[in-house]
Symmetry: C2
Subunit: 112 residues, 2 copies
Amino acid sequence: MTVNNELFKGTLQTIILNLLVENERMYGYEITQKVKAITQGELMLKEGALYPALHKLEADGLLETTTEVVDNRVRKYYALSKDGEKEVINKLQDAKDFIAHLQLLLNLKPSF
Amino acid sequence: MTVNNELFKGTLQTIILNLLVENERMYGYEITQKVKAITQGELMLKEGALYPALHKLEADGLLETTTEVVDNRVRKYYALSKDGEKEVINKLQDAKDFIAHLQLLLNLKPSF
DNA sequence: TTAACATACATAAGAAAGCGATGTATATAA
DNA sequence: TTATATACATCGCTTTCTTATGTATGTTAA
């Protein structure tokens, strides 16, 4: 998933779901570019990680899809389902707790 | 490793190494209790995660061990090696970067 | 014109990390 | 004498990610 970083394991689902809170609907390639832009090129989301993650989120009922053809290319748009909207709140809280605990364990004060 | 949290995957090595920066030497069980105390019981480090991680860090030359018998029980103390002292600096920086990127991706401002 | 790059999807093999379960052993408290 | 705490360890399994590969179209530079 990353440049050289094992640390993001387990956070990908939360990242995807959160992007869809803000953007309403996105397609896979768009997500990779968005992540790249936000992290200024430091985090390169691999296709082998992204697409299985999207499929799993859809299979779990957290995402819904619509397919469109744009410029002769297929795009598969993903959007939060009702369950997805609920679950993203939990996952974001988990991520906050995770960061807080990690900062405690590593003596990293929240940067300010 | 956790209460109900997949997120710590990949951070365990860094957590262990950082605890040994502050405590000079610790044994496995002591590490589990320390993590539990720091996170107020929210993060329960499992033996099936801890011991293989310690063995790997030792095999990688980042930790050195000494064994003692205390109260008729064997304790295996772990301490940072020279390489470990260098590597922990890198891993802490990676963790800082990771947290910063994750906060960006999840719209979590550093709490202050 | 053709090679490289970007866009856009997908899957399969393998590695790595952690979980749950189990095992050994001693000491103490109910 | 049973449960809990201390203290180590390993094994099978699952999940997640990486790397590689595959298909297909559009654009840009040599």
